[in-house]
């Protein structure tokens, strides 16, 4: 019997879809539009997060070395720093290289050339593995003999971390807010489609159908609304994102946009899951409201 019951539910869901095409299409359209917004927001947030990570990874510790150090001392020191926990990479910049860089930066190389001696010193440029490692690593390097001064632009780093943290909190908040809004709008819309059919529910109850029997086609329909809506949203957002990637590759080569490969698949799965669950729950909850007959 169970089987035919489900068959009836499918048939009735399809029938009501046909009969209420107007409200059904409205519901699907609302689901897809609101999920599309959520999806776009989500990929923006993911990109902001990835940008924040990129920025954080650019933080460098600069350690100026005693000019008296010999090459072998420098090699030893370098090995020592590399072995610290949290150190990701180390680059040695000699005094000569430093002067070349400076000349480059000032834009008037010749002017510096008649300076007899090189006033600059050699340095290590050290990268930390994680933002949190920066301070302890800098601390550890300071205590080394042969290192004269350690600088990691603590102001700038602090500022940067505050910005990235704010960025993350902010985009997460917006994503959560938008997700809640989406859930709300979708379930509200489904509720309105059920509302338009409240009389039917009453009749079914009076004829002797159980609550579960009545609910079933509505839930199926809700799942259908959710799946179709989210499929449309997924297709559109993938298309838009692919377009954006192409645009960014041409116009914003210095931005590292998160590639589409795993992102869009995960996004599609998330949207489908969200759509189906919201559709089912939205319908089930709404029907319950009209079952008390």
């Amino acid at each position: 019997m169970r089987l035919s019951t489900w068959r009836y539910a499918f048939r009735d869901a399809a029938g009501s879809f046909r009969a209420n095409r107007f409200s059904s299409l409205s519901a699907i359209a609302t689901v897809s539009v609101s999920l599309l917004m959520l999806a776009l927001f989500l990929v923006v947030a993911i990109n902001l997060d990835s940008m924040a990570t990129t920025l954080e990874n650019q933080v460098e510790i600069k350690a100026w070395l005693d000019p008296a150090l010999k090459d072998e001392d420098i090699g030893r020191l370098s090995d020592q720093v590399k072995s610290f926990p949290g150190v990701q990479s180390l680059t040695y910049v000699s005094a000569k290289e430093a002067m070349e860089k400076l000349a480059d930066r000032l834009g008037n190389q010749q002017a510096l050339e008649y300076v007899g001696t090189n006033p600059l010193r050699a340095s290590f440029e050290v990268k930390a593995q994680r933002p949190d490692d920066v301070a302890p690593v800098a601390q550890a390097i300071t205590s080394l003999v042969g290192v004269q001064k350690v600088d990691y632009k603590s102001d700038t780093v602090d500022k940067l971390f505050r910005i990235t943290r704010a960025l993350r909190v902010f985009s997460l908040t917006l994503v959560i807010a938008l997700a809640l809004a989406t859930i709300f709008i979708i379930s509200n819309t489904i509720r309105l489609t059920v509302f338009a059919r409240r009389r039917e529910i009453t009749i079914m109850k009076l004829v002797g159908a159980t609550d579960a029997y009545i609910r079933r086609p509505f839930v199926l329909e809700g799942v259908f609304f959710g799946l179709v809506g989210s499929l449309i949203a997924a297709a559109l957002s993938s298309w838009i994102y692919t377009g954006f990637l192409r645009f960014a590759a041409a116009n914003l080569p210095f931005f590292e946009i998160v590639p589409g490969a795993p992102l869009l698949r995960n996004l599609t799965l998330t949207l489908l899951g969200l759509g189906a669950v919201l559709g089912a729950l939205g319908s089930a909850v709404s029907v319950r409201r009209f079952l008390r007959v």
Binding site: S4, N20, E200, T202, M204, K205, V207, G208, A209, T210
Partner: protein, 229 residues
């Protein structure tokens, strides 16, 4: 006793007293007319049988079930035992005539075979086999009423309740419907018919319960419609 009302009163939320201390007992297989002027409380009485309305006071027992204390999950099973022709038909607007009748069986988990056998038979019985594919809005008033009757009797309920089942039918069709209900009662169903059809009531000489302003004013075996009857 198939249907037993004991001291039943119904006061609607707007303080209209639709039933006042109604005591009725209807045996299995009995055929009862309920008559009375417009607003007398016939529909309210009938709605209490299948628990569309709960009485304000009193107890109702239908087919051994205490209707007033039934828990919600048991209500559908009561309603399957009571086939109802509603005064306003209450057909599902998105289902055809056939599907409306079949629905009453489907939701009781009847087998496919049984549905395919019974639905056409009962549609034939009420003279609607030509209109099986029509939606309710494509049917005339009397046709809708006959579909409503077909749905009420399709799963051979123990109790059949018909509220004004011939209000939209011509005399020939009305008689045909009443004859079907009589036949079903002879076969063991308990039939309660609320009606205004003086002619039919007076002709059949069945039990008549007359109501007025919420009270049972007369309850006679082999009764008549009343007054200038």
């Amino acid at each position: 006793m198939m249907i037993q009302f004991r001291g039943v009163s119904k006061i609607y939320p707007n303080h209209v007293a639709a039933l006042r201390n109604v005591n009725i007992a209807v045996d299995k297989g009995e055929f009862v007319f309920i008559v009375g002027p417009s607003g007398a409380g016939k529909s309210t009485l009938v709605k209490c049988i299948y628990r569309e309305e709960l009485p304000t006071r009193g107890s109702i027992v239908v087919d051994g079930r205490d209707v007033t204390s039934l828990k919600p999950s048991a209500v559908p099973y009561l309603r399957r035992d009571v086939g109802v022709v509603y005064q306003d038909f209450k057909l599902l607007p998105n289902k055809t005539a056939y599907e409306n009748v079949a629905f009453a069986l489907e939701c009781t988990e009847a087998s496919q075979r049984e549905i395919a056998k019974r639905v056409p038979a009962v549609l034939e019985l009420v003279g609607m086999k030509d209109k099986v594919k029509a939606l309710p809005i494509q049917l005339s008033g009397g046709e809708q009423q006959r579909i409503a009757l077909a749905r009420a009797i399709v799963n051979s309920p123990a109790v059949i309740v018909a509220d004004e089942p011939t209000g939209n039918l011509d005399p020939d069709n009305s008689w045909a419907i009443i004859r079907i209900l009589l036949e079903l009662s002879r076969m063991g169903a308990t039939v309660v018919v609320a009606t205004h059809e003086k002619h039919i009531v007076n002709n059949l000489k069945q039990r008549v319960i007359a109501m007025d302003r919420g009270e049972v004013v007369r309850d006679e075996e082999k009764g008549a419609y009343g007054r200038e009857a």
